[in-house]
């Protein structure tokens, strides 16, 4: 099971067919017949938030669906920060990405902080955990990766309408064993050649790459 907090998000998971196990609510009128009334003081004890919303739900973790390789897919090699993954899920949802792949050592997408920062978007994306190295070596898909040095994303001529774009770990980037398998190296250029800042935040990088692809494919 996993926890979803907040009225809007809970409604999104219900509307998208997730199996609701239990729903606790300070004000049940928002969930007719579905919620168990709870005191705010009790909700505070079970909430993961510092300032809990009035509603907390438990849903069943769904079986993962088949990955649709005809669309562009984002893959994450050891993504660590739950806030980053949640923000990325929200950005992917905005730009119409349907599938995300995470390496097995990545943060769990049903971690409460991921669910919270994804703001309901987790209910619309298919997230699969698998051996990235194995997938990339066996699939015949085009494989792109984001690096600190590569082809500037703005000048890259390929349309990137399908294939896999790999993003690396927050501190260490893409691991050497995955880097070896990547066909096209992409980079987000910095305004000048100063040493600092050394990198962009991971979720900001994903937002920039997806925006740029969306712009050129319009």
């Amino acid at each position: 099971m996993f926890v979803v907090e907040g009225r809007k998000s809970i409604h999104e998971f219900i509307d998208n067919g997730f199996h609701l196990i239990k729903l606790f609510s300070v004000n049940e009128k928002y969930f007719k017949g579905k919620a168990i009334k709870i005191l705010k003081s009790d909700l505070k004890k079970i909430s993961f938030l510092n300032n809990p919303d009035d509603h907390l739900a438990l849903f069943k973790i769904p079986a993962s669906k088949k990955i649709d390789y005809s669309n562009l897919i984002l893959a994450f090699d050891n993504i660590n920060d739950p806030g980053n993954l949640g923000t990325i899920i929200r950005t992917c949802d905005w730009f119409g990405i349907k599938d995300i792949i995470c390496s097995k050592n990545s943060v769990d997408c049903f971690n409460p902080k991921v669910v919270q920062s994804a703001m309901g978007s987790l209910s619309r994306l298919n997230i699969t955990y698998l051996d990235l190295e194995n997938l990339i070596s066996k699939q015949s898909l085009k494989t792109y990766g984001t690096f600190l040095s590569g082809n500037p994303i703005y000048e890259f001529k390929n349309e990137l309408k399908n294939g896999i774009i790999v993003f690396g770990n927050e501190a260490n980037g893409i691991s050497p064993k995955i880097e070896k398998l990547i066909e096209f190296k992409l980079t987000i250029p910095k305004s000048d050649d100063r040493l600092y800042p050394e990198s962009l935040n991971l979720s900001s990088s994903v937002a920039i790459v997806l925006s740029e692809l969306f712009r050129r494919n319009q």
Copy 2:
């Protein structure tokens, strides 16, 4: 005073002329003559991090510098989340923005979580807190704002080489009194006209807008 944790970030603040008040270090060899040795167990007690780095410094909050209105400036109307502001500072540094303006009710840029997520970039940006309404009404600068409905950023023809781009609060967007003063409304288009997701994360929106401006001004 404000707290900076982590070897790299502390070095960046020192190198950029910030006044160091005290520096506690588990391993002083990284800061010759500047650090006071501290036990890891004591550092853990004073650190704001769950997994503290070996170094914690106190710097003096500098006097704010004059805003350079000849460059493009980002302004934030009631930005609330310290992680967002920190990430935004890092992204601004990446794309060469020098000045950020925050409304007076915004989160403090010297909040430890802002400093942490800005990863040293706070040492290179000038951040000024002032009455946004007053500033925009009195300055003759072009004023842009990001909204859920406006001109798609990709089609907007203006170069945006100077002026002010206003971003709103995480939950409520730009406040009505500021919206009235904004000349050009910009938006980041969604992949289709679904109701959800309702918005993008604030720091992701900033990353997208800055990347798009940087691309077209290259």
